[in-house]
Symmetry: C2
Subunit: 339 residues, 2 copies
DNA sequence: TATATTTGCTTAATCGATTAAGCAAATATA
DNA sequence: TATATTTGCTTAATCGATTAAGCAAATATA
C-alpha cells in the first residue's frame, strides 16, 4: 500500500549516467540522440515502469492535452453516442476528455465553463443548455484564445465552429411525409425561437406548409421547453381546439412522448386520427406503443466531426481566419405513429 | 483573438513590488501576511483577472484535484444520475471529475484506467464492465496507492471501498411480491454469477423461493449478458418450456424490455398470464405498455456516498486500514406488469 | 534597558519535463 | 592537412506556484 515514488527522467538518467535532458530527448526520439542511448533509455524506462509526469510536461509545454466537453445531459442516446465517438477520435490524437453536464441549466453551464478553464483544457466542445440566452460565458472562452466548437445546440451570434444537422430541411422532410399521408392540419410543438436549432425547425415547418399550399395557423404553432410535461400540456391544449390538427410534429422525442401519452389516455387513434412525429430518435421511440416516428441526427458523425474540427483548429492554426460550419443531412425514421 | 498571456503571481508581485512568495501566501490567507498586503494582492488579482495556474500548483503539490470516474455507459438513467450527484459533492470539495465510458468492454476499461492514471487523477471511482473478470488493472490502481472506490458493479476480491444496493434483499422483495400475487413458478433471467451483484441476485432469488416453499427448477434459472436481445432470446426459450413460468424476474430493465416484447408479440397477457419484473428503474419502464415493475437503486445516494467515501480516503488517511462498504436498501416500484 | 518573541516579508529550492544554447569529439569536405 | 559540419551529448533556464528557511523590524517580556 506504500505510495512508492514515481520514476522520473532523473532516475533513468542516474542509472545510465547521462543527463535528464538526454533522457527526455531519447524518449521523444530526437534525431540528435544515438540509437544506442535511445535503446538503453527505453529499456531502463520499462524496467523502472516510467510514466511521464503529465502535469510537468503540460506546465512546461503550456498544453494540457485535455479537451472539455459540455452537454445538456448524458442521459440521452444522442449525447452519449456523440460523446463516445468524440472520445474515440480525440484519444487517438493523444487527448483526453473531461465531460461535464449542464442539466439544461444556464448557471450550471457557466460553472462548467469556469471549471474547464480552471483545469486548463486545450479546447471546449459544447452543446448549449436550453436556458442559455446570455452568451458572455462563451465569449470568455473565445477571448482567451481557446478553441471553441459547438454542436447540435449552437448560436450564430457566437461565430464559432459548429457541427449539426440541417434542422430547416428536417422540418421539410417531416411535413412532406405527413402531407403524403394526407394530413392537412399539421401542428408543431417546438422549442423557443431564441435557440437557433428550434428557430430553424419552426421556419422549416412554416416554409414547408407554404410550399404545400397549406394555410399557416398560429394556434397550431407552440413554443415550449420541450420536456415530457410540456408535451403533455401542449397536446392537451391542441385537443381542446375547435378544429383539431390531424398531425403533430414535436421538436423533441421527450415532448413527443408526453403528447403520445395524452393521445393514448384520450383514446385517440395514432396514427389513424392524429399522426405524430418526434425528433432525436431516442431509444424509447421504438419501444413505446405505438412506436414514434423520429429524426435520426447522426450522433456518431457529429461526435467525430466535432472532434476533428477541434484537432484542425489546434494543428492548423494558419486556418484561424475561416469558420467551419458542418451541416449534416438528417434522416426520417418512419414508425407506427405516422404510418 | 490574440492569445494574451495569463496573469501570474509574478505579475501581481511586480505591481506591488513584493515577492511572488508573498503573493502566493496572501492569496491563501497565510497568517504571516498583513491584512493590508492581502487586500492589495486580492485587489490587483481581480484587476488583472488572475487565474491560478492549476498545472503548476498540481505539480508542486503532487495533487491534481481530479477524480476519474469509469462507468459502463452514461446512457442510462442510473449512471447519469449517479454521475450528476457524485459531481455535485466533489465539485463542492474542490475536485473536478473526468468521466469515461467502458461501453461494457474489458479492453476499453483497461484503457480508461491507463488514461486516468496518466492524467494523474487523485482517485478513481468505478463501476465495472460486464465483461470484466481479470482484476489486474484494478490491482494496478491499488498498488499505486491511489484511492479506488467501486459502486454498483463491484468485486469482493478487490477488497476496496464499495457503495451499492443490497441485491440479495432486492431479490427477496421481488419474490415475496410475486408470491403475494399468487405466482408459483417464478423464472429468473439473471446476469453471470461471476459478477458479484448478479450472483447475489441469483442467491437471493433461490433463497427466497426456498423460504416460500417453492421448488427450485434449474430450467427457470438463466445466466446471460442481460442485453435487450438476451431478454428476447431467453424469454422465447422460457415460452417453449412444457411447464411455462407464471412470472419472470429479469435482473436488468433492458433484458426485461426484450422479454416484454416477446410476450407482447406472442399475445401473452401481462400480468394476467405471466408477471414481469425488471431491475434498475430505467425511464422506459414507466413508458412501455404495460409499464414494467422494477427496482429503484437510489442513484442519487450512491453517487453522493461514493464521492463522500473518496473524500474520506483523501482527507482522513489515518483510516487507511478499515474498509468502507455501504449497502443501501433498494425499493420495489410496482407497475402494471406485476399488478 | 536588554533580551525574547512575533510579524511580515524575502530568498532560494523545489515539483519534472522540456528546450535553447553550447561544447567537445567524430566525421566530412576542401 | 586544415577547416567545416555533424553527432551526441551537457548545462542551465524555464513553465508557475509553493514552501522551508531565514532575516530584519516591530513588539513583547523580563
Amino acid at each position: 500500500m506504500a505510495n512508492k515514488k514515481r520514476t522520473t527522467l532523473k532516475d533513468i538518467a542516474n542509472v545510465l549516467n547521462i543527463s535528464p535532458a538526454a533522457v527526455s530527448k531519447a524518449m521523444h526520439d530526437d534525431s540528435r540522440i544515438s540509437d544506442k542511448t535511445k535503446k538503453a533509455v527505453k529499456r531502463i524506462a520499462k524496467e523502472l515502469d516510467y510514466q511521464p509526469n503529465h502535469l510537468a510536461s503540460a506546465l512546461r509545454k503550456g498544453k494540457s492535452n485535455l479537451v472539455g466537453v459540455i452537454v445538456p445531459r448524458t442521459n440521452s442516446n444522442f449525447f452519449s453516442s456523440v460523446l463516445e465517438h468524440m472520445e474515440a477520435v480525440l484519444n487517438k490524437a493523444g487527448y483526453n476528455i473531461i465531460i461535464t453536464q449542464s442539466n439544461e441549466s444556464f448557471d450550471k453551464e457557466c460553472k462548467n465553463i469556469d471549471t474547464l478553464l480552471f483545469t486548463q483544457v486545450d479546447g471546449i466542445i459544447a452543446s448549449m443548455a436550453n436556458e442559455t440566452v446570455d452568451l458572455s460565458h462563451y465569449e470568455k472562452i473565445k477571448s482567451k484564445g481557446i478553441p471553441l466548437i459547438l454542436f447540435d445546440r449552437g448560436e450564430n451570434d457566437l461565430n464559432v465552429d459548429y457541427v449539426g444537422i440541417n434542422d430547416y430541411d428536417s422540418s421539410h422532410m417531416i411535413v412532406e411525409h405527413l402531407v403524403e399521408k394526407g394530413c392537412k392540419r399539421i401542428a408543431h410543438i417546438g422549442g423557443y425561437r431564441r435557440t437557433r436549432i428550434f428557430n430553424n425547425r419552426i421556419k422549416g415547418y412554416v416554409d414547408a406548409l407554404k410550399k404545400n399550399d397549406l394555410p399557416i395557423d398560429d394556434s397550431l404553432i407552440i413554443e415550449s421547453s420541450l420536456t415530457l410535461e410540456d408535451g403533455r400540456r401542449e397536446m392537451e391544449r391542441l385537443l381542446q381546439l375547435e378544429n383539431r390538427p390531424d398531425a403533430v410534429y414535436v421538436a423533441s422525442d421527450y415532448a413527443a412522448l408526453g403528447a403520445l401519452q395524452i393521445l393514448n389516455e384520450n383514446e385517440i387513434n395514432v396514427p389513424e386520427t392524429i399522426r405524430l412525429i418526434g425528433f432525436g430518435n431516442e431509444l424509447f421511440t421504438s419501444l413505446v406503443t405505438p412506436s414514434i416516428s423520429s429524426i435520426e441526427q447522426h450522433s456518431k458523425d457529429i461526435g467525430r466531426l466535432a472532434a476533428e474540427t477541434f484537432l484542425k483548429r489546434v494543428n492548423e492554426p494558419e486556418l484561424k481566419q475561416s469558420l467551419n460550419k458542418i451541416i449534416l443531412k438528417a434522416e426520417l425514421i418512419v414508425r407506427d405513429s405516422s404510418k
